[in-house]
Amino acid sequence: EPEVTQTPSHQVTQMGQEVILRCVPISNHLYFYWYRQILGQKVEFLVSFYNNEISEKSEIFDDQFSVERPDGSNFTLKIRSTKLEDSAMYFCASSEVPRGTNTGELFFGEGSRLTVL
């Protein structure tokens, strides 16, 4: 079964450092997303991406965050200068069709756990 893969599975960084989280979406999918989940809290939407541009972003996704699809297969989330409160599990997701259709599924990766010290 095709799956979304994420690397690294766990990253520890110092406050103020840049972090890049990588995702390989399912190959025929066109819509890409990042979500995050702080330990013990809800899964929160960060950003959606289609046709090489951001479709929607949440209030969490401020100027410290950026996304890129550098080579047609990877989808990356960059946090420019990490803060303690960025510590969370970051999930990449992809879908074949836009979320506004009734064909169901958003495929999530296993997540990248980011710990900011």
Partner: protein, 111 residues
């Protein structure tokens, strides 16, 4: 999007049927009901989606009454591996929508 309300937690035993009900009183005509499952330290996983009446797949059934103000996810004969958090979400069938997760229902299945 319609706000969803579901129990914070439920307990069950192996082999039992589990029904988790979600209320979404303000659901709109264009909205679909979707359920996801999440195991600890893993990403959410799609279980089932429906618009009205009943939908069944190999994992679960989803019952939606005529007024669509609630829905019930039914898991037949649960096992220990069904211990997870279950999220009820409402998705609009127009445009490029994000998923909005609530706190979900934490299901604990015991031997």
């Amino acid at each position: 999007l319609a706000k969803t309300t579901q129990p914070i937690s439920m307990d069950s035993y192996e082999g039992q049927e589990v029904n988790i009900t979600c209320s979404h009183n303000n659901i709109a005509t264009n909205d679909y009901i979707t359920w996801y499952q999440q195991f600890p330290s893993q990403g959410p996983r799609f279980i089932i989606q429906g618009y009205k009446t009943k939908v069944t797949n190999e994992v679960a059934s989803l019952f939606i009454p005529a007024d669509r103000k609630s829905s019930t996810l039914s898991l037949p004969r649960v096992s220990l591996s069904d211990t997870a958090v279950y999220y009820c979400l409402v998705e609009r069938n127009t445009g490029f929508q994000k998923l909005v997760f609530g706190t979900g229902t934490r299901l604990l299945v015991s031997p």
